[in-house]
Amino acid sequence: MPKTISEKILADHAGKSEVFPEELIEARIDFALGNDITAPLSISAFRKAGATKVFDPERISLVPDHFVPNKDIASAVQAAMLRDFAREFKLPYYFEVGRMGVEHALLPEQGLVLPGDVVIGADSHTCTYGALGAFATGVGSTDLAAAMITGRVWFKVPRSLKFVYKGKLRPWVGGKDLILYTIGRIGVDGARYRAMEFTGEVIENLRMSDRLSMCNMAIEAGAKVGIIAPDEITEEYVSVRAKRPYKFYSSDPGAEYEAVHEWDLSDIEPVVAMPHSPENVKQVTELPETPIDQVVIGSCTNGRLEDLRIAAEVMRGRKVANGVRCIVVPATQNVYLEAMEEGLIEIFIEAEAAVSTPTCGPCLGGHMGILAPGETAIATTNRNFVGRMGHIDSKVYLSNPAVAAASAVLGRIAHPEEVLS
């Protein structure tokens, strides 16, 4: 029977010839991860269960990234729990401050999550790795604790939704715009419990950083995974990084989908999600004049080198507007270093932006850029819920890096062409 990519990956990991939507299976996992917010609960559950070993130290990564460098004593205690656990169980992929990055930028970059993998992470944006053709999904801390012991996890096989993107994208439109547009069309629960499969000529021509941004936000439509069939672009990205063998899967012709959405996006302009929901989208050209107080460029959604290049192209030789704070957060140490070597960091600093060490900090209102009551930010991050980046009376708009950079320069939400023309 013809199957989707998600069903084929799950069947292989469950040791079955095929699986069916809604079926409950127990699957072997290739990789598991947790961070300084979620892993402390996992470690506590792991110890309470009386476990004395992990299923495979090479297949577990702990990444302190949310509240590090430690923002306060309580956060320092949580980060220490990860450090101690990693030492005790000899986990080679524990990433200390100075070597770390935002987890969902770091693990693909390090070749630790790969095409054909089943990956679980105690972080909802684990779905990012679908861009590599992996079945990757976020779970809670207790699920992670159980998986660290057994190397297995139970799943309900999701139904699949197919998205076909046609046409040729306009300049300044990329993966972030595609996913915001999609969430705007189907809503924040439009793919609840489903696998979102992204296909079509637009995806075939989309570079890896944009694919990662897209799959990253599948959870914002409620999806279990967002997945893209691997191709030459995937091969080029993973072949130089992979720490293990990997396998390409693709959907069979005639595979069953709960729904197929086909859209020609040749005419869309960059998309912005307005407060307080990622589904509340407009094209940037349709927005009323919207002054801003802060800009954040970074995160697991848009903190990669390609994102910083786009932002730097818009900001080169210009200044951040008076009254605006612009915070640029390279997502990993490697991104930071390469951005420095390319002169991007210099462009940001000369533009009077603040450049931070890698951290999730501002995205979730942790630290490194909290909003006061009444303030408005535009961010390349993934959530704009009430109070997400600070006070409950602050507002967050979500956009791609070009729009965020243009907005920093003009002090209001702007199309990059307003800056460059």
């Binding site: 917010i37 269960a49 923002k71 309580a74 949580q78 207790t142």
Partner: protein, 166 residues
């Protein structure tokens, strides 16, 4: 198991940042998390809620992050169960793993208002609204989830597997 308590009504798409804002995630202490439960949706909820009371909400309750701190905060605040039109996937999983009873019931979610007195039978999925003299029927809990509940949660289930393996 039967519960009786007053309802607290919330809307659609209540996200995990509303249930327990990320700024409080520098602790895993249930009581500390409970003191900020639902803070960004209703700043006074944590102070006002009484043990055994029930949260009723619209569609997609618990959307957003994977933080298990969300069901932990709700459970530690003394909430007896959550009834919603629907739940976000990770929250649904986490609630079972944490032993927080949740029921999916669109009709109940539409009809219940804050202050209604409810009687909930978790085994049968029957919900009685004593204030409005109405009965609702929730989706039955899937058999695999019942197995987890019978084992006492996911970690107990894993512990049983570990002892079998020894």
């Amino acid at each position: 198991m039967k519960l009786q308590g007053k309802a607290w009504k919330f809307g659609n798409d209540v996200d995990t940042d509303a249930i327990i804002p990320a700024r409080y995630l520098n602790t895993i202490d249930p009581a500390a998390l409970a003191s900020h439960c639902m803070e960004d949706a209703d700043p006074e909820f944590a102070a006002k809620v009484r043990p055994g009371e029930i949260i009723a909400a619209g569609k997609n309750f618990g959307c957003g992050s994977s933080r298990e701190h969300a069901p932990i905060a709700i459970k530690a605040a003394g909430v007896g169960c959550v009834i919603a039109h629907s739940f976000a996937r990770i929250f649904y999983r986490n609630a079972f793993n944490m032993g927080l009873p949740i029921l999916e019931c669109p009709e109940a979610a539409d009809r219940i208002e804050t202050g209604d007195m409810l009687e909930v039978d978790l085994d049968s999925g029957s919900i009685v609204n004593l204030t409005r003299n109405e009965n609702y029927r929730a989706q039955p809990i899937p058999p695999f989830m019942q197995k987890l509940i019978e084992a006492g949660g996911l970690m107990e289930y894993v512990r049983a597997q570990m002892s079998q393996g020894q």
